[in-house]
């Protein structure tokens, strides 16, 4: 059962470390000195993980309760007194973890309400149906009467508890002068109930309790599925803006230190940013030198060396050295907040898009109302029999039950979402699939999306094993991406240095057997750098080994791009990285159009220009700088490795490395769209047959129940075809994924000029 630890240990790096103060700020006071915090632990996945995490956390001093929720991949911890070293303990166990906003973690009362309503409606409708069967098969008048009374009794909770969901929604629509799908539903079920009670009093032969309750039951299934799909989207968004640190250490003029929440930081304050921290607000460096990982901010693939006087943006990750920074903006004027504002302003394509079901219901309600009303008028004019006319009008309302709209669309989307999930793609919203089926252009970000966004050592066979071991041992002590690449390639041996120091902005210096080793940029490590650029390992100023790095392409990037092109989609790159780097990637993937050095606003501008030209764009991106464009695009997708904010802005998130997720999601969405259209077609055909029968007054409770159940079963069965029809294809593609990576990785490692010309600093 040690399936998880080995792989996960690698992921648990002390980067993005959360300080105790931050933990305290994020925790919730339960009173009585008890505090609770929720941690997201994405890597846990088995019983062994649960045991290790719960034991590990519970064993810490002060912890009174530690409980893992495997479904949500979260651990909830309660403690008293001092903040226990939760994150460090988890990292020690091999799990990366991060803070989860407790205030938003509450369970979803709306869903519980829906499920309860569904249970009650299911109970009522099934029991009524049971009684109805004997009525239909010709129970004598006395028994029929008794069964009608029991049915009436059973229908009450279904109507007034479960049906309330529809009544409320219909009422709020009517209050605003609109009409929605729930208006004819509400009128239909309450009138059907009313007239059935009247008929039961009058000893009538027909009662529609079964039709009314099973209508509520079927529609509630659809409503619950729909809610599940939407709630995912809402939950994802609620964790937003957590990329920003919660607080920062402020250095006062008298030398004292304070940990203040980020909102209380004023321009002019002096802040300490330790290695591994994100920059809390925009600022300039007062003293210190380090490298910054700007990839989420600018899309730049290599760490940027900074020194006193450099300008920092909020959200950049400080890698190697501590910095003293003067704040130049408040949190709400900083880069992160600016991104959030841009995102809000960019809510273009998505906000304008109206869901298919909503559009259909716009047409549906007036038509149904008018038909039922005309039927009523017609029958009164023809027969003058009020009771009969009203019964027939109700039958029209009931028989045209919008099952195709209320049930078929969500069920297709749930099945499609399930299929995507099996292939490692998460969908946040049902409407996202509808939008994805419409696209004609795919725009990619480069760093982290088309590429892995991680440096990888290339051309490393020439390096002597002894040198490699020394380099790896030195690199293991550093958080620098290039160091990590070296350590990851050669593994950490058992070399023990007499002295080991990291010099921010330059590299690592170590002493072994009286000799000085330096791993870092050539002009620092070598006494005579000459032609050497980039990263080297030196001994006493003499070259031992040079290192070359590349940002390798994501697995299957080429296949994914060509699959999209075959599907008739245009591809382009929108990147914040330098032109040469973008051009190299574009050329390699055969993407003709690219924009380099694009600021977040430029990306939004490009996508909006495309939208203005009538194009519908899928944006695939991962960085913080992509967040606004992910929001602006018609539909968007992000890898799971993306910055939180980008992941939250995207409609789809793919969990696996392979970029094939993009054509797959597009394919499944197209198919789901086709099935939804088919279901609409089925519904129309059904209504064409059923409506004349209803208007003619031939509908008995038996026919109503049969017709409704049949139409519901038909659309559900059609939706399930999405899964069955693609079982084989799925198996094939997952097999392909299994054999791919090694082969693809070898092929995709090309030396792009990204890394080589750049001065590397370790």
């Amino acid at each position: 059962m040690s399936c998880c630890a080995a792989g996960a240990a690698d992921a648990a790096r002390p980067i993005d470390a959360v300080s105790n103060e931050e933990l305290l700020l994020a925790s919730r006071d339960l009173g009585d000195g008890l505090r609770q915090v929720d941690l997201a632990v994405p890597d846990m996945h088995c019983a062994d993980c649960i045991r290790k995490i719960e034991r590990g956390l519970a064993g810490l001093p002060g912890v009174t309760h530690a409980r893992v929720n495997l479904s949500t991949r979260r651990a909830s911890v309660k403690w008293r007194g001092e903040v226990p070293p939760l994150i460090e303990t988890l990292a020690g166990l091999g799990y990366a973890s991060h803070l989860y906003d407790t205030t938003e973690a509450a369970s979803d009362p709306q869903l519980t309400r829906l499920i309860r309503a569904l249970a009650v409606a299911g109970f009522s409708s099934m029991n009524i149906m049971l009684l109805s069967v004997s009525v239909w098969s010709g129970a004598d008048a006395e028994t029929r009467q008794a069964f009608h009374w029991i049915s009436a009794l059973l229908a009450i909770p279904a109507l007034f508890y479960s049906g309330l969901v529809f009544f409320r929604s219909a009422w709020s629509a009517l209050k605003h002068g609109r009409t929605n799908m729930d208006v004819p539903i509400s009128i239909g079920i309450s009138l059907a109930f009313g007239i059935s009670v009247y008929d039961t009093f009058q000893n009538g032969a027909h009662a529609y309790f079964d039709a009314a309750t099973s209508l509520v039951f079927f529609l509630l299934i659809g409503r619950t599925l729909d809610h599940l799909m939407r709630e995912k989207a809402r939950q994802a968004v609620s964790g937003l803006v957590r990329l920003a640190p919660r607080g920062a250490t402020v250095l006062h003029a008298d030398g004292s230190r304070d940990y203040l929440p980020v909102a209380e930081i004023e321009p002019g304050m002096v802040l300490l940013v330790a290695a591994g921290d994100r920059v809390p607000v925009d600022g300039t460096i007062l003293s210190g030198a380090s490298e910054l990982d700007c990839s989420v901010v600018s899309g730049e693939s290599l760490p940027q060396p900074v020194e006193a006087g450099s300008v920092l943006k909020a959200g950049m990750l400080n890698l190697t050295g501590g910095l003293v920074v003067t704040a130049t903006a408040r949190a709400e004027d900083s880069f992160l907040a600016e991104m959030v504002r841009l995102m809000e302003a960019a809510e273009g394509g998505k906000a304008r898009y109206r869901r298919l079901a909503d559009r259909a219901s716009q047409l549906y309600s007036p038509v149904v109302h008018a038909t039922a009303f005309l039927t009523l008028i017609g029958w009164i004019a023809a027969t003058g029999d009020w009771h009969r006319s009203i019964s027939i009008a109700i039958a029209v309302l009931i028989i045209t039950c919008p099952c195709a709209l209320g049930l078929a669309v969500p069920i297709v989307q749930v099945v499609a979402a399930r299929r995507l999930f099996e292939n490692g793609v998460m969908v946040k919203d049902g409407s996202a699939m509808e939008r994805l089926a419409e696209i004609d252009t795919v725009a990619f970000d480069k760093t982290g999306t088309l590429t892995r966004g991680q440096l990888k050592l290339v051309d490393d066979e020439r390096i002597e094993p002894t040198d490699a071991a020394i380099a790896a041992a030195m690199a293991a002590s550093s958080n620098h991406p290039a160091s990590r690449a070296i350590a990851a390639r050669f593994g950490v041996g058992d070399v023990t240095f007499a002295r080991l120091t990291e010099i921010p902005g330059r590299g690592i210096e170590a002493e072994l057997d009286g000799q000085t080793y330096r791993l870092g940029r050539a002009d620092w490590a070598l006494t005579n750098p000459g032609e050497w650029q980039g990263a080297v390992l030196s001994r006493d100023g003499k070259l031992l080994a040079p290192f070359f790095f590349t940002d390798e392409l994501r697995p299957d990037a080429r296949e994914a791009v060509s699959a999209l092109r075959q599907a008739g989609l245009e591809t382009l790159i929108l990147s914040g990285d330098r032109a040469e780097a973008v051009q190299a990637t574009a050329a390699e993937l055969g993407i003709p159009n690219f924009t380099a050095s694009a600021l977040p606003a430029d990306k939004v501008f490009r996508v909006e220009a495309l939208a203005a030209a009538g194009r519908k764009t899928l944006m695939v991106g991962d960085g913080l700088n992509d967040a606004p464009v992910l929001t602006a695009a018609h539909v968007s997708m992000a890898p799971a490795s993306a910055a939180d904010i980008g992941r939250n802005a995207a409609d789809f998130v793919f969990l696996r490395d392979s970029l094939k997720a993009v054509p797959l999601a597009h394919h499944v969405s197209m198919e789901a769209g086709r099935l939804i259209r088919q279901n609409f077609g089925l519904a129309i055909v059904y209504n064409l047959i059923a409506l004349p029968i209803a208007i003619a007054g031939w509908v008995t409770p038996l026919i109503a129940a049969l017709a409704m159940s049949l139409s519901s079963i038909l659309v559900v069965a059609n939706a399930l075809r999405l899964k069955a029809g693609n079982g084989k294809g799925e198996a094939k593609s997952s097999a392909a994924v299994k054999t791919r990576p090694t082969e693809a990785a070898e092929r995709d490692v090309r030396q792009t000029p990204v890394a080589q010309g750049q001065p590397w600093t370790a």
């Binding site: 649960i50 045991r51 519970a58 530690a66 929720n69 479904s71 009650v120 109970f123 028994t143 059973l154």
Partner: protein, 53 residues
């Protein structure tokens, strides 16, 4: 007819009991962590209780 007088209420009673059990299980959070419940069965009893329980 005579048999119906107690059979139908009995059937309904069983239905109501099932409904109440379902609502109770929903309320007591048994659907909160379905994946976890499936995995926890592999853990030994004392470990499963968790800390402080």
């Amino acid at each position: 007819m005579d048999s119906l007088i107690f059979l139908v209420p009995l059937a309904l009673l069983i239905g109501v009991v099932a409904l109440v059990i379902f609502l109770w299980s929903l309320r007591s959070g048994q659907y909160e962590d379905l994946d976890g419940a499936a995995e926890r069965i592999l853990l030994d009893e004392d470990e499963d209780r968790g800390p402080g329980a």
